[in-house]
Symmetry: C2
């Protein structure tokens, strides 16, 4: 087997999309292509009727090029270069996110063409990568922004939020939707009429810990929407933006042990296992603490080791794990690696990202995957 290779299971991409859609039947499911923008994945999802969530004008251009209708594309990066807004409008994109006054200002020339969706700051409890902070307008700023929109006749088409990436607590969606309610009421007082509700992404996948099922998250979301309705806050169109949920579990990274070394870390001896894939060639999320369930082709006594990548960089180290007696040549299979692996890859040190191989398998990872 040539390594490193990312095996992508097309049937899983499809079943993950269908799970999402069946849990959120009246939602537009807009696949976050930043998680894995491979055309093979896009094509499966587009055939199935998926919308696509984009983060840049380059992503939009690519979709238009491969024939995606602009109505299926939403532009959810809250902060965009002015030229990107112009080009997106020209391409026929209507739904776009913002979360600041400076961004609302850029909308003025395009106000008759666009559907601005306002991203609010919400708690990110239980998520592995907190997005609150960088994105989402805090409550204290809402009045200034809404007044500006009212004065400049910029429509407020909807409200959105993001609970953070890989959010492992269903209740966090409920808290976010409470805040959506507050925001919608305030908007109303400025004569603004948000009709779109976009619940963002963050839907978790199995990475070794207990997670809520997508049905459980949907239950929280639908109950909260019903609560809002009872308060007179009614949305007409719904979006969800799963990325990792669709592409993540479809991927298994096959990487090989290329070296083993004795090291001293703070005076303690430790075995380091060098893989042919590292932080800069696919496993970037490990630096923020992600650990993938994995399986080794090796046999022998279990040993605790530190996994690291093939580059000369000291930051190219991943996580500690117990492996059956590791040897140069053993293959390590990491599951849940279909999302945010290829998309983060660079050619640092001249080391190529893994190749990608699509299969139509079914079934789950081997039962003996090692959980960290």
């Amino acid at each position: 087997m040539n390594t490193p290779v990312l095996i992508m299971d097309r049937s899983k991409v499809l079943s993950n999309y269908r799970d999402m859609k069946s849990s959120f039947p009246d939602f537009h499911v807009a696949y976050a292509m930043k998680s894995n923008s491979d055309d093979s994945i896009l094509s499966i999802l587009l055939k199935e009727g998926s919308d696509i969530e984009t983060a840049s004008i380059a992503e939009i251009r690519h979709l238009i090029e491969i024939g995606v209708s602009p109505e299926k594309i939403i532009f959810s990066n809250p902060v965009k270069p002015e030229s990107a807004i112009r080009d997106a409008v020209e391409a026929g994109i209507r739904v776009m996110t913002f979360d600041s006054l400076a961004e609302a200002r850029k909308f003025i020339p395009y106000k008759d063409f666009i559907k601005p969706v306002f991203r609010i700051d919400v708690p990110n409890d239980g998520s592995l990568w907190v997005l609150s902070g960088k994105f989402g307008s805090p409550k204290r700023v809402w009045p200034t922004i809404f007044q500006f929109m009212e004065e400049n006749d910029i429509p407020l088409a909807g409200i959105t939020f993001h609970v953070g990436s890989q959010c492992e607590q269903a209740a966090t969606w409920g808290k976010a939707l409470e805040r959506v309610g507050e925001c919608a009421l305030l908007a109303k007082s400025y004569g603004l009429k948000p009709e779109i509700l976009n619940i963002g992404g963050g839907f978790p996948i199995f990475l070794g810990r207990e997670i809520p099922a997508i049905k459980d998250i949907a239950e929280v979301v639908y109950a909260s929407i019903e609560d809002l309705r009872r308060e007179g806050i009614v949305f007409e169109k719904f979006y969800a933006e799963p990325g990792r949920f669709i592409s993540g579990p479809a991927g298994t990274l096959c990487t090989r042990i290329i070296g083993i070394a004795d090291r001293d870390i703070k005076g303690q001896s430790e075995k380091w296992v060098f893989l042919d894939t590292g932080v800069f060639s696919g496993l970037m999320e490990t630096i923020d603490g992600i650990t993938y369930p994995l399986y080794s082709s090796g046999t022998g006594e279990p040993e605790k080791v530190m996994l690291c990548g093939p580059s000369c960089d000291g930051a190219d180290k991943m996580f500690r794990v117990v492996l059956p007696s590791p040897k140069v040549g053993d293959i390590i299979y990491m599951s849940g690696t279909g999302a945010y692996t290829m998309s983060y890859s660079s050619n640092f040190n001249g080391i190529e990202p893994p190749s990608v191989s699509f299969v139509d398998a079914t079934g789950n990872a081997p039962e003996n995957f090692i959980l960290n």
Copy 2:
């Protein structure tokens, strides 16, 4: 001005190389191409007589393709796939680093062709990115490795170390060379005769703090070599592996403010400034705490802001800095960005890395650059 663009000053690449060479006149200066592998830089250095330090077989293949003689190439990644060692030997590469028994084992079929250089663990005091830990053999392992080499007739061609990236204390090289002495004495007792001394990289550039001049580091190194000589430890061939020192100060990244937003961070309001270049499109080193001296085209009252990048990723945030009243459209010039920027870039979110533009300017960054 189209942004983002990295302006690379060819004349600085040349003068940095010459500074290095004049401080270390009897050293082979082997440029660490992982810092910036642009052919324009390689070509300047090769014409000047530089050797090249490589981290992967892909880098070696590229050098051979552009006509570099294999004697000018050293392969300094201490952990290499077996196939990379085979292909490097076939390409005529002789000098290669190792720091583990598993790696020494891979050398057996090639022992008549290669010059193995042993990398030892040394203190990384004063360096911004510690490499100790991932690389460098701890002292307790040396006897096992040397015995294996003696028994298998693998030559020990030399000793090397790395003080860590951007090492800002000259004395750290002295400490490392003391340990080289210990290692050389032990090697002798196994009948091994290291003739190469490679002092690695880590030579610092100006990033806003006081740093030792390259002459001062050379003074420490030469004094230590003299100390070793007095103890009967004599090396015949010397290498240094500057990367950042040569390419870093030659680069100025020109990036534009594309958005400004009010945020709440732990209950405190803060202004966030969004640039068209971020962690995943060039400024990766900021996540480990690097701050580049910078200059803004903006004017007005100084304000403390948080700089972040254009992607939808929460990790795409950089550092806090005081800018003259930031506005969308202002250009931010970051100096010292010629190294480890393009090489770490990915296309995450579909966002392209900066374009690169070569100039032949002279002189230093504007005197009014803001230091963080």
